[in-house]
């Protein structure tokens, strides 16, 4: 019940700020989603739940071109970045990504689409509920780059008119994937 409520609130808040929220059942659905977005280069950094799903092999097997060598140049030309999320919070539709690894940051800043895989079990109530996890990240690792992401990149700097996609991703796609991971400290 509680999870259902949080998923509902999360989805509503995320959509209100322009995120796409979808439910996916398996890795094939993720591959289909990505293929619908682009025929160009896709970047999938290294993260735990992708490894378990063997997402990279599945994408390759269905013919998706992946960024492999020069990550910086690759990310700059990729159309889609796919990552997991450590956890999320419902009140504002926010996903939280432990982005200390540079490949996570490249995949979530440069491509026009950012696809996030999120286990709905990891949706918390709000920003205050997130603080204990923030503290754990800080305690577990000496250096951190943590990101709250709430919708696509936006600006209102010209005549205060809201415009999407100024520097970061133009679209944020959140794929709710049950059974992916229930550990907020893992992506």
């Amino acid at each position: 019940m509680q999870e259902e409520r949080l998923v509902a609130v999360f989805s509503e808040s995320a959509r209100a700020v322009g995120s796409e929220v979808s439910i996916v059942a398996d890795v094939e659905a993720v591959v289909d989603y990505v293929k619908q977005l682009t025929t160009c280069l896709v970047m999938v950094p290294d993260f735990a739940s992708a490894k378990r799903l063997d997402l990279v092999s599945a994408l390759k097997a269905s013919g998706v071109a992946l960024v492999q060598e020069d990550l910086r140049q690759g990310a700059a030309t990729a159309a889609v970045g796919v990552t997991g999320a450590n956890f999320a919070f419902a009140a504002t539709g926010t996903v939280v990504l432990e982005s200390t690894r540079e490949d996570i940051r490249l995949a979530t800043t440069l491509p026009e689409h950012h696809v996030v895989l999120l286990d709905p079990a990891k949706i918390l109530e709000d920003d205050l509920a997130a603080v204990p996890h923030l503290r754990s990240f800080h305690q577990n690792s000496p250096r951190n780059y943590l990101a709250y992401i709430t919708g696509p990149s936006r600006t209102a700097d010209i005549e205060r008119v809201l415009t999407i996609g100024v520097h970061g991703p133009k679209q944020l796609h959140i794929l709710l994937f049950t059974g992916l991971s229930n550990d907020p400290l893992e992506m």
């Binding site: 700020v17 250096r143 951190n144 709430t150 990149s153 936006r154 010209i158 100024v166």
Partner: protein, 715 residues
């Protein structure tokens, strides 16, 4: 007073007033902001949040060294290099030298007000380093060669056509003035910059002592690119950004976006601690902690609350002066009410001296401040400082020090004025035209004539028939009630007598002192406070009533503050504050007597104008409305009912009549739009302004004090 500086300032005002398009945009923005903000906070307790932020910032201010050391130790342990810059020049030199020593050619920047404060781009240019602003608004003003006119939306003063022109010069082709297209142009043009740059420069919204990390609260995503791609990351931040814990940071993050742009949360909140991986190695992270006047601010008991500021810009958004002239007039680098204070400490009193006077004192900013800063009070104390440093002008000095402090002289001069004014009044109650160099004063507003017989001079002859009074109250009339609108005092007697309250008028009462205080002459204000306390408490009244909310603030708040360390006066000032209450509030709250007027009034469509100091000072706004509706008047709310009317005492008469006129124009439009035939209020100053404006425009709308309407109802 510095004449050259004052003249340059006036030129800027004239220029801004000649740009109605800007005014229209800022007015619309102010309206939209308030709606979005209210919606964003609908599920949250704003008062609790702002008290928490104030507490947290005060805790850090009280133990500055301890939290600074904790932050630095944790940041260094995580691999950051920390530099403490005492001045703006120190910060600039450090960053420029660092850039030179690392062979940096291009530095990409995300938005940082601290770097605007230090003029970092100039310093980098001097070191042969190109600084590229990547925040859209900052890039626009960089291309235009301007400075920000708003802390959150730096290019709020520009229009899409101007942006298109600037971008066309960059791309070399004609860019259409369509916002979505222009944003795309910026995306494409700036993208390569991130990849090419050797240094990324950001600010920080928060620095967390517990972790040694910083947090950036942004929407565009450029700060994430700036802090990710280049090998070197420099974060320039004021020391006041330090908070103790992650919970404190969360409170600020919960509040700032809602109060800045009406967003529940910005697109990105980025927490960075230490030298994170970058390419094949680690990033080089430099944290430049800027003092530049902040320690001095922390040491100033009158002003230090300003260090609580989280730079949301709301104080500008709601400010009628900002909406009228914009941030290039009402600010230096930092703009709006907080900008006045920060400018004084970061850029020097000289840079703040003119804008200190530009505040009209309406307290709209105080209501929305997320750090619970009493901006108006701090601005008043800065006025006093400048008054000391530069003098308040010979004319004012004579009026306040020699005349006002001597009540008998002051009042006999006013009596003389009532005789001398006859050539211009022709015996009428208002002055429509003034000759010679005074003529501009009556161009847009008539002025009330000084009454032939002041309230104090006719008091003894006004009959009061009460057998057994419930209360004995003393009226503090204030100058306007006494000398301009004595009939208001007579109406008050009528209303109070009906409620079995006997009213006295202590004749030794003098001006409340606010005009002197607002002009920077606190000494006179304190002298007047003592005279008034003695006068009002002499016969030990049950209550002291006021009909002017500015006087109310003086009696309820200022006198106590002035005299709190004076053993002779402190307790008496406290007592006077306790028994002082404005007339409408007294009827509703102390007497519970609104019902006495039930259905007594001849029905009329009335709109209510909230006076700044009544609503946002004394907290009274429901009470007059209750009295009006109970009495049978048809109350229709105007838009922006609690927006200032532009009076502000000497603000409209001498310091900023041209801004006052614009603000009055806004108010008159709102009154007219309401369709009311009468506008009610509880302040003789607002009455003067609105009567003057409506009369000059020949509008058939009555301007009445609530007490006058109640007296009418009893007829």
């Amino acid at each position: 007073m510095n004449k050259v500086r004052a003249k340059e300032y006036q030129v800027r005002i004239d220029h801004a007033l000649a740009t109605p398009k800007l005014q229209e945009a800022l007015h619309k923005f102010g309206d939209a902001f308030l709606l979005a903000r209210e919606k964003a906070f609908s599920q949250y307790d704003f008062e609790a949040l702002r008290l928490a932020i104030a507490d947290c910032k005060d805790e850090v201010a009280a133990h500055r060294q301890q939290y600074l050391e904790q932050f630095i130790a944790n940041a260094e342990a995580a691999g950051a290099t920390v530099y403490q810059a005492k001045t703006a020049a120190d910060a600039n030199t450090y960053i420029a030298e660092l850039a030179k020593s690392r062979g940096v050619k291009l530095a990409v920047k995300s938005k940082s007000m601290a770097s605007e404060e230090t003029h970092l781009n100039n310093a980098l240019k001097g070191a042969g380093v190109e600084a590229l602003e990547t925040d859209l608004g900052e890039w626009i003003i960089q291309l235009a060669g301007q400075r920000p006119s708003h802390m959150v939306m730096p290019a709020i003063h520009m229009f899409k056509e101007e942006v298109a022109e600037l971008f066309s010069k960059v791309t070399g082709s004609e860019e259409p003035a369509e916002i979505e297209h222009l944003v795309q142009v910026a995306r494409e043009q700036l993208r390569q910059g991130y990849l090419d740059a050797d240094m990324g420069i950001t600010g920080a919204n928060i620095a967390v002592a517990e972790t040694g990390g910083i947090a950036l609260i942004t929407n565009e995503g450029n700060a994430r690119l700036v802090s990710t791609l280049p090998k070197i990351h420099v974060a320039l931040l004021g020391v006041e950004k330090i908070v103790p814990t992650l919970e404190d940071a969360a409170t600020i993050i919960r509040t700032l976006p809602k109060n800045a742009t009406g967003q529940l949360l910005t697109s990105y909140v980025t927490w960075i601690r230490g030298a994170v991986p970058c390419g094949d190695g680690d990033k080089e992270l430099h944290l430049v902690l800027l003092d530049n006047g902040r320690s001095a601010l922390a040491e100033s008991p009158q002003c230090r609350d300003a260090l609580r500021c989280i730079k949301c810009g709301a104080c500008a958004n709601v400010c009628p002066v900002y909406q009228t002239v914009g941030g290039h007039v009402f600010g230096h680098v930092y703009i709006g009410a907080i900008g006045i204070i920060l400018t004084a400490f970061f850029h020097g009193l000289d840079k703040a001296a003119e804008i200190v006077r530009a505040c009209i004192g309406c307290r709209a900013c105080v209501t929305v401040c997320p750090s619970n800063i009493d901006l108006e009070n701090i601005i008043l104390s800065l006025r006093e400082t400048i008054g000391h440093e530069e003098g308040i002008g010979l004319g004012k000095s004579i009026v306040f020090r020699k005349v006002m402090r001597n009540r008998k002289l002051f009042h006999s001069l006013i009596r003389a004025a009532s005789m001398l004014q006859k050539p211009v009044t022709g015996g009428q109650r208002t002055i429509r035209h003034l000759p010679l160099f005074f003529s501009s004063l009556t161009e847009w507003r008539t002025l009330p004539a000084v009454a032939e017989k002041s309230l104090r001079d006719q008091w003894q002859k006004i009959p009061q028939k009460i057998e057994k009074p419930r209360f004995k109250v003393a009226l503090f009339g204030g100058c306007a009630n006494d000398f301009l609108y004595p009939e208001l005092g007579i109406d008050l007697i009528k209303v109070m007598n009906k409620l079995d309250v006997e009213v006295s008028y202590p004749l030794d009462q003098n001006c409340c002192g606010v005009p002197a205080l607002y002009s920077g002459d606190k000494e006179t204000a304190v002298a007047l406070a003592e005279q008034n306390i003695a006068a009002m408490l002499k016969d030990d009244p049950d209550f002291v009533l006021t009909t002017c909310p500015t006087c109310t603030m003086a009696l309820q708040r200022d006198f106590v503050e002035f005299l709190k360390d004076n053993p002779v006066w402190a307790a008496r000032a406290e007592h006077l504050a306790e028994i002082t209450v404005d007339a409408a509030g007294f009827i509703v709250n102390q007497l519970g007597a609104a019902e006495v007027f039930k259905g007594e009034a001849v029905p009329e469509k009335v709109t209510y104008h909230d006076s700044c100091h009544l609503k946002r000072g004394a907290g009274v706004w429901k009470e007059p409305r209750e009295l009006l509706t109970t009495s049978g008047l048809d109350l229709v709310e105007m838009e922006h009912a609690d927006r200032c009317c532009g009076f502000g005492g000497s603000y409209s008469l001498t310091s900023h009549p041209d801004i006052s006129k614009q603000i009055l124009g806004d108010k008159i439009r709102d009154i007219e739009k309401s369709g009311a035939t009468c506008v009610a209020m509880d302040c003789p100053g607002c009455m003067l302004q609105l009567r003057g404006g409506l009369e000059k425009q020949e509008k058939d709308i009555r301007v009445k004090h609530t007490i006058e309407l109640l007296a009418e109802a009893l007829k």
